[in-house]
Structure formats: C-alpha cells, structure tokens
C-alpha cells in the first residue's frame, strides 16, 4: 500500500463552516473522510477572513464607542490611542488560535486533510492541486462540495490598492482618513463601523432607498438613526458609476435615482455589494451536478445535487449565505452519509448584523408576511420600557414577535439593540418548537435583562404587558 492516499469514502471539498462540521460529524459517525482545503487548517472564509476576524474587530470598535459614551456616566477616557499593528496582531492571534484548534480536532478524528484545491475529473474522481505544486488524483465514494463564496466584484471598477473588499479591509492595512463603503448591506455596515470607530470618516452609498434592503424597516430605522451619528454621510438611492484613481486617492462618481450626478474623493473605497458562490473552476461539467443562473449548485432537501453521489452545502448551495446555515447543512449531510434519514428543513434560520446597535431576526419577517399576504399580529416592545436597557444607557432598541393571530404560534422575531445577536436564539427555539406566544409569556425570564423584552413582547400580544399599557379587547 502506498502512503499516498488515492481513494477515500467521502471527499469533502472545502473546510469552512460547512465542510469541517460535516467532516467532524461524519468521522464521529464512523465514516472515513478526506477534507480538502487550500489553507493549512480548517476554518474557511468564516474563520480566516470573515465572521471571526470581523467580530474581533467589531469588539474593539465597541470598546472604543462605549468608552466614548461613558462621558454620559461621568467617566472620561479622553481620546484613545490606537496601535493598529497591535490590534491587527491580536485579531490574527484570535484567528490562529481557533483554526489551529480546528486542525487539532481534525487530527484527533483521524480525518485525512489535504491542503490544496480540488476539481472533478468525473463523478468519482477528483484531481487535487496541492499546496506544494504537485497534483494527486483521488477517487471517492461520495463527495461534499463546500467551496463557499467570494466577494462580488464590479467589473467596471479599476484594480487599485485603494479599492478594498471585505477580505482586504479586514486586514486593516491602514486607517484611512476617509472611506466610502459601496453597498449598505450588513458587510459594508459592519466594516464601516469598525473603520469609523478607528477614526476614519466613513460614508456609505446604497442603491436602494434604505440601508439593509430586505430587513424590516422598523428595525433598520433604529440602526439608521445611530448610523447617522457614526457615519459622515449616508447616501441612498444612488449608484456608483465610476471610480478613478488619482494621486491623492480615489474619485468616485455618483448617480442618484433622480438623475443627479456628483463626485467625491476618498482615500479608500470598500466594495461590499454581495458575494458569489464558488461553483466555477470545479470541473462540475464533468459530472451531472447542475448549477443555477446565479451560480448556486442545485440541491434537494438532503443537499444532494443532481449527481446522486455528490452533495453541496453552505454558500455554494444557496441562500442565506450564513455560516450557521452551512454548519447545519453539513451535519445533515453527515447523517445522510452515515445512512440516517435526515433532511435540511429548519423552520427558522437566524440572521445577525453586528453593527451598533445590532439587528437580529429569525423566522417570518414583517415584510415577508406583508408580501405573502400572511395574516400576522406584530407585538412590539420598545426598549424605552426596559429596565435593563435603561441601566445600559441604551434605550434605542425594540423587540418584536410576529405571531399567528389564530393559533398564537410564534412565526418570527425581530430585535434591534445591543446584544440582539445573543437574544435571537430564543426566537429560533420558540419557532422550531412551534411555541405559542403564551409559552414565551409563561416562561420566567430573568430580571433585569434584555431577554425580558422577549417575554414582554409576548405579553404585548395579549394586551397585558406589565410595562406597556396597551389593552386588548379580548384574549
């Protein structure tokens, strides 16, 4: 037997938050797995260039902004001194610690890890272009494609050092004096928040009429208010039609919806207009795997592609492009590979925007309900009525429940405010458990916490909220 592995039971292409949990669970269930990824350790974009480093930086941003606000409480820190190298270094160490940990977990489970990029030669064979340069053929019983996504590029923009994407921005090359964020979605706003806290004058330009298109307006409104004080300018209903590299930065040409044209100069431009699935260059044409027009690999509820022995999970398999969705899919597929009857059919997938204040939602949104004509009752609890919010000096928040008016089932939850990301998990559980508003109302939530706002929203549904007077006709 050669010491080069050339066949495997399961080949998992991509070791991000979809690939590695799939591999780990499959190994735990007794399946022989080969995990293929270009990085040294598992982690994918999430660990190396996305979720983790951005949240690390956002934590730093939060510390800076909170200390700034502390003057309200009579605590004055003065202007902070920021050592960018140290900050970058800390962020890198956080990432390293985590990915190395994953590498360990992978070894403990006896998973064969191949560092390289894989392509399909046919439905049962991969060619892996390894890090060192050589290539190796690997035949497999079944495969899981977890190749993730990459930042979308606007082709008309020039290639320039001044134009950043989410990956390069996270590297914190420098704290620019001015920066334009193109795209008012969650990535742009999160990174914009980081740079703004570090001292950059950040402007945001968004094509639609509001930030975070698609998210319920009542939640975004709270964020927008705070954004207005963080950002230099929020430009809505406007497109970027050209970027020109000049001696002292970049000149950006705008075109607003009503036809107006303007130009401004910025040191840096961060392009965050979305992400594209990585389904090209994989040799899929040598298999029966089909891809849709947007580039997502077509899968059924088992995450099986049109080629029966090949599965696809994560960003490459469709929206929402969220790490936790990839993880769940990965685990479902691992179970299926182990012969269990499993399927990806969650009733609620949460989403969190880690701006300040945070926004989080899960299940049916108010906008969706309106769009699909689903009758719902929305029970809102303003944080102005929350004791805990008052103690945090952060009354800018709202918690709302979207409830079926007849069955009283909780269909969705939306929260805006600091810590929304942590609070939303209760909503996911409630929806998955088919809980009724009364189940939440009758569960004792600790006081004084922000989680009480969830319970009180349920009380609002019945018109009997302790801290909000809004009587209902009949229960």
């Amino acid at each position: 037997m050669s010491d080069k592995k050339n066949s495997t039971d399961i080949a998992i292409i991509g070791a991000g938050p979809g690939g590695y949990p799939c591999a780990f669970l499959a190994a735990d269930l007794g399946i022989e797995v080969t995990l293929i990824d270009p990085e040294e350790d598992p982690g994918g974009v999430c660990l190396y260039r996305g979720c983790i480093p951005s949240k690390a930086l956002l934590h730093a941003a939060k510390v800076i902004t909170e200390s700034d606000h502390a003057t309200n409480l009579g605590i004055d820190f003065g202007k902070p001194k920021i050592n960018l190298d140290k900050l970058r270094d800390w962020k890198d160490r956080v990432v390293q610690k985590l990915v190395r940990g994953l590498g360990q977990l992978s070894k403990q489970r006896d998973i064969s890890y191949m560092r390289g990029r894989a392509e399909f030669l046919d439905s049962n064979t991969l060619i892996v272009k390894k890090e060192g340069g050589d290539e190796e053929e690997l035949s497999f019983g079944r495969a899981v494609i977890a190749t993730g996504s990459r930042p979308s590029v606007i082709p008309s923009f020039p290639k320039s050092q001044g134009i950043l994407n989410s990956t390069t921005a996270i590297d914190l090359p420098v704290i620019p004096k001015t920066m334009l964020v193109v795209g008012g979605g969650y990535i742009g706003l999160e990174l914009g928040t980081v740079y703004a806290s570090l001292g950059t004058r950040v402007s945001v330009v968004e094509m639609t009429s509001g930030l975070m298109p698609g998210v319920d307006r009542d939640l975004v409104r709270v964020l927008q208010k705070s954004a207005e004080s963080i950002y230099e300018e929020i430009i809505l209903d406007t497109k970027v039609v050209g970027i020109e590299e000049t001696k002292n930065g970049l000149t950006v040409s705008f075109e607003s919806k009503d036809g107006g044209e303007t130009r401004s100069n910025f040191d840096k431009v961060l392009v965050s207009v979305g992400r594209k699935p990585n389904s090209e260059g994989l040799g899929l044409e040598n298999t029966k795997v089909e891809v849709d027009r947007a580039g997502f690999i077509k899968v059924n509820e088992e995450r099986r592609t049109t080629e029966p022995g090949i599965f696809a999970i994560g960003d490459v398999a469709g929206e929402p492009m969220l790490a936790h969705k990839a993880t769940h899919e990965g685990r479902v597929v691992a179970e299926i590979l182990a012969g269990k009857k499993s399927a990806f059919e969650p009733t609620a997938i949460p989403a969190v925007v880690f701006t300040d204040p945070e926004i989080a939602w899960c299940g049916l949104t108010e906008s969706e309900a309106k769009e699909k004509n689903i009758p719902v009752k929305v029970a809102r609890f303003p944080w102005g009525a929350s004791g805990r919010a008052a103690t945090l000096d952060r009354r800018d928040g709202t918690t709302k429940l979207i409830v079926d008016p007849e069955t009283e089932r909780v269909l969705g939850m939306g929260i805006v405010g600091p810590g929304a990301g942590e609070l939303i998990a209760e909503g996911v559980l409630a929806i998955e458990m088919a809980a009724l508003a009364s189940d939440i109302e009758l569960s004792i939530h600790p006081h004084p916490t922000l989680s009480e706002t969830v319970m009180e929203s349920a009380e609002v549904f019945y018109g009997q909220s302790t801290h909000v007077y809004k009587p209902k006709r009949n229960r």
């Binding site: 269990k340 009857k341 499993s342 399927a343 059919e345 969650p346 009733t347 689903i374 079926d404 007849e406 069955t407 009283e408 089932r409 269909l411 998955e432 458990m433 088919a434 809980a435 009724l436 009364s438 189940d439």
Partner: protein
Amino acid sequence: MTIEYRLPELGEEIDTGDVISVYVSLGDTVSEEQPLMEIETDKAAIEVPSPAAGVIKEIHVADGETIKVGQLLVTIEDGVDGHKNTAVSEGTAQGQTEEPEHKVDEETIEEEIASEPETTPEERINTSSVQEEEEKAEQAQEPQKENIEPQVKEASSQPPPASPSIRRLARELGIDINKVIGTGPGERISEADLKASTGSQKKAKEPEAETPAPGKESQAKTKTRPRSEPGKEERVKMSKVRKLTAERLTEAWKAPHVTQYDKADITELEKLRKQYGSTVGKAGGKLTMTSILIKVVAKTLKEFPEMNASVDMENSEIVYKHYYNIGIAVDTDRGLLVPVVKDAGKKNITELSIELADISERARNKKITANELRGGTFTITNLGGIGGTYFSPVLNAPQVGILGVSRSQTEPVYLEEEFVPRLMLPLSLSYDHRLVDGANAVRFLHSVIERLEEPLSWFLKIN
C-alpha cells in the same frame, strides 16, 4: 327547512329545568352545536346546543322560565331544502325521518350502550358531531369535516407544529409529519401523536378515498387508511349503534365469563301459553316464552341475590340490587338494543306481555327513550325465533348474569321408562365468575327450569 327544536331528555327522572339565560336573539345566525341557552336542573346547569346551523326565527322561552322536556325552545331556519321536519338526520345507513320529539334517540342509544348509568344532558348528539368523535377516536389523519378545518389551513401556510426532534423522529419512522394531527396546544405534535398515527399511516399512500359507503355513514374520506383492494374488500364506517355496541362489549368481555347450558321441558308451559294467548292478546300484549321468562327470572332472582348484583373491583364491593329490572335484547335494524322492563317482579305476566310487546315495537321504531334503555339488573336474550341450540351470551356489563334462550325443539326424552316427545327449550346462562360460583349459577338455572317445567304448581304459589 324549519326546525322546531324541543328540549331533549335531560336525564333520569328529570322532567323540567329553569332557563337561566338565552344566549341568542331573533335573527341570529348560529352554527351547529353553538350553545343556544343555559338551563338549570336539579342536577346541573347545562348548555343546550343548536341542532343545526341556521337562523333563529323564533324563540319560545324566556329567561327564568321553567320548561319541560319536549317543550318547544326555538325555531331555526336552516336554509336547507327538504321535506323532513327534523333537525337531526340519522347517521346510520337506514336512518330516515324522525319526529322532533324523538330526536333524542341517538342520545339514548349512546347512553345505553355506553356504560355510564348517569347521563349528562350534554349528550345532545347529532350526526356530524358523532362522526367527528368517531374520526378523532379513530385517529383520522385528515380533517374530513369543516369543523376540523384549521389543521388543513395551517399545514399549507406554516411548517408543521413540531419541534426539531419530533420532525426527525417522524422522518425516521417514515411518517409524513404534515399528515399528523397534533393534540398539544396550538396543535403541537408530540411523540405520542406520532405513534398514534403510525397505525393509520403504515400503508398510506396518497388520497383516493376508497371507501364507497353504502348509505350516509361514510361521509368521511380517509386518506391514510390502508387501501382496500377494489372488488375484494370494502370499508364501511361503523354506525353509532354498532360502534357503541362494540365498545360496550369490549368492556363487558373483561369479566370472566362462564356459560352454563341446560334444557327446560316446556311441553306443559307451551300448552298453557297457547291456551291463554288470546286472553293476553285481547289485553293488548303477546304471551310469549320471553314474557313468561321475565316473570320467572325476576322471581328467581329474588332467591339468588348474587345473580342480581354487580361487582365493584375498585372498592372490592358487591352491589346487591333490590329492584328487578330485566333487560330484553331486541334485534333492530340499527343493531342490538336492550330495553328494560322495570320492576318485573311486581308485574303479572299479562302486564309484562303488554309491556314487552310495546317496548320491543318502540325499540324497532326508534321510539324508545333513554330511560327505557337503562337500569337493567339482568338480561334475557332470546334468539329462538331465529334458530340455534345453544350460545354463550356476553354479559351486559355491569350485570353479572344473562340468560340466553334458543329455539325450542321437540325431542325424545326418556321419561318413566320410555321415550316420549317433549318440547325442550335450550337455555344458556352466562355469569360473571368473579362474583358467581358455578354451583350457585347451576342452582339458579335449575330453579328457573323447575318453574318453567311445573308451571301450574308454581302459578299456584305465585304472589
């Protein structure tokens, strides 16, 4: 059509009630089963539900009024064409028109065949609600009737109300979670609900309603029952009577049954019966072996109190009854009914014959009342008219004795050193061995037989 809704039976020996509150007003649209008013009796306060959906045309009673059973309460216009002047249409295959006064029939059959001696007047059952119960009880997967709509609506607009672990379990068990009816709040599906649905879903494939019901019983289309091979099998929904009989017998069967068989020489008795038949006939009754048996049995029970009792295992007590109500099994086109002749010991055979003829007839014509189907302490079941020699009747719980009678035959009997033709009546006595021991049962049966065989001497002693 117009429905004149009268106050149904409220319970044993309850004839009147007071109207506490009339809920509806003239012109109101009401749905079937919607409470119309609240009535208070000696025993309880009850809500009287509407027999049908429709519009209130007239209200004949007022708050505070004392009303009687059978009294006209409201007139409802239900907008349905028809010549039937009733609200309740029977669900059984042969169900036809009923007079309003006897709407109570369904209820009575229910009550009798159900074991509860106490009735709650709420058992105002009409076709659709009973069907509902039948369906629920059979763990129907699909909502068949409008009343159970919500399930269907929900399934289409929302994922099934089941937690992830339950959804996973369903998948593992091969159950389509969208077809399971949950019994938790908000129709939440529990593990028990899943297990309950496995039975019906085993061979379930898709929709075709394969139960062509003869008659109006099976309005329900079952989507998840095992398919019947067309032409080889046929699925028919049980009638109320059948279902309740089945349930009752399932309960009754729990008692340890022993059947004692014997024959009575009724040659002399038969002569007497023929002789006095016309006399009784003129009085309005029919002198039959059964009516005679009622008297004989009633009197014999007095000497064998054990046979006229019931067993209370929970409290380890025997309940001796000091009244003698003999139930007579009557075969009707709806099924088996057992009207009861009360205080049989106190009535003479002529009276018993008249009463027996009357209740049998009314049982067959659906004119029997709840009271008349209740309260028996012993039962006689006579299949002689149809044939057979012996059979092992099932006790009419909670009674401990039942006497089965088969067809009398002329047989050669060895008497005084020769074979003579005698008319022999086969008797089958089933008893509950928890209370009655074999010896006593035989003694009881022999006593009965003695009296049948020596009618004159017994008649001389009778009081």
